[in-house]
């Protein structure tokens, strides 16, 4: 049957696409919500929405669609948090700090690809890891819209128009957010003594 054939093709394309973007999507959600479990839930939700509603779309449209779904899911997360009562929000905010410490599981800190740093000397690897951590912290401190624009435009490599669509704003706003984000990040890293 015709639809079954195209369905199978969509399956393999979707599988490859999700495998490619899942880690970056997780990091994006993590920068926004600063909670690993919530970030994982958000990515899972976004993946489910994509496969349920947009599986029949052409593969070229998937990156932009997925980013739009991801950003909406992150916004939904914050909306739900706002709706909750004040004491729940306070508790979860306190809990996040504790969770960070509790999450430090030596088994889980094993890198997924142990050979990825094979060519780097230990001191260099340590310095690089520190720089990555500082950059991630700086990103998490950016205003949400600036961070979204920066990640979509320069990490996900969407063009200005696609970023604007994913963010639901004008192209001019994207340019402004990106410019401010880059300057803010450069300032923050400079203050930490990091030269790029």
């Amino acid at each position: 049957m015709g639809p079954r054939g195209s369905h199978l093709a969509s399956y393999s394309e979707l599988s490859a696409f999700l495998a490619e973007v899942e880690r970056r999507a997780f990091k994006q959600a993590l920068f926004a919500v600063r909670n690993e479990e919530a970030a994982l839930d958000i990515v899972q939700d976004a993946m489910l929405k994509l496969t349920e509603k947009y599986a029949a779309k052409p593969p070229a449209e998937l990156p932009m669609l997925f980013q739009r779904i991801l950003q909406n899911t992150i916004h939904d997360h914050f909306r739900r948090q706002k709706v909750r009562s004040t004491w729940t929000t306070l508790l979860s905010a306190l809990g996040q700090k504790d969770e960070k410490d509790e999450d430090f599981d030596p088994l889980e800190t094993l890198p997924a690809r142990p050979d990825s740093n094979a060519s780097i000397d230990p001191a260099g690897a340590h310095q690089q890891a520190e720089t990555v951590a500082l950059i991630e912290q700086a990103l998490a401190r950016l205003p949400a819209r600036q961070r979204e624009a920066f990640l979509l435009r320069y990490w996900e490599e969407l063009d200005v128009a696609e970023t604007a669509t994913a963010m639901g704003c004008s192209e001019g706003s994207v340019k402004t957010h990106c410019s401010r984000a880059v300057h803010a990040l450069a300032e923050m890293l400079k203050a930490k003594g990091i030269s790029l």
């Binding site: 399956y11 997924a112 690809r113 990555v132 880059v182």
Partner: protein, 128 residues
Amino acid sequence: MNEREIAKKIARYLDRGTAELKAGTAYKLQLARQEALARLSAPRRAPELVLAGAGGGTLGGGRRFFADVRIWAGVLVVVGGILSIQYWQSVQHDRDIEETDAAILSSELPLEAYLDRGFQAWLNHSEP
């Protein structure tokens, strides 16, 4: 270094951070991906119900299924309630008619009296 070059350098660092994701997190992401893809290959059931329950579903097929069941259960309760009220009203109506008939038939007054115009006029006249 211009703005774009700075951004690209930062993005490269972010890529390195992503490549060294914790194994546990990478595994959970893989599971999430597999679940999403399993949803794609599963036969779709009652799409209109899935749409109706789409706002509440977050974590997997089981949850959405139960959301659908809740919608159906709600509809059944409402329809059942309406039918019960209608049945109760019809039974009550029949009972009222039966009671009136029984009162008329069991009274000492003959039935023909109710058809007699003179009797009706006398009744109206004699009422205080």
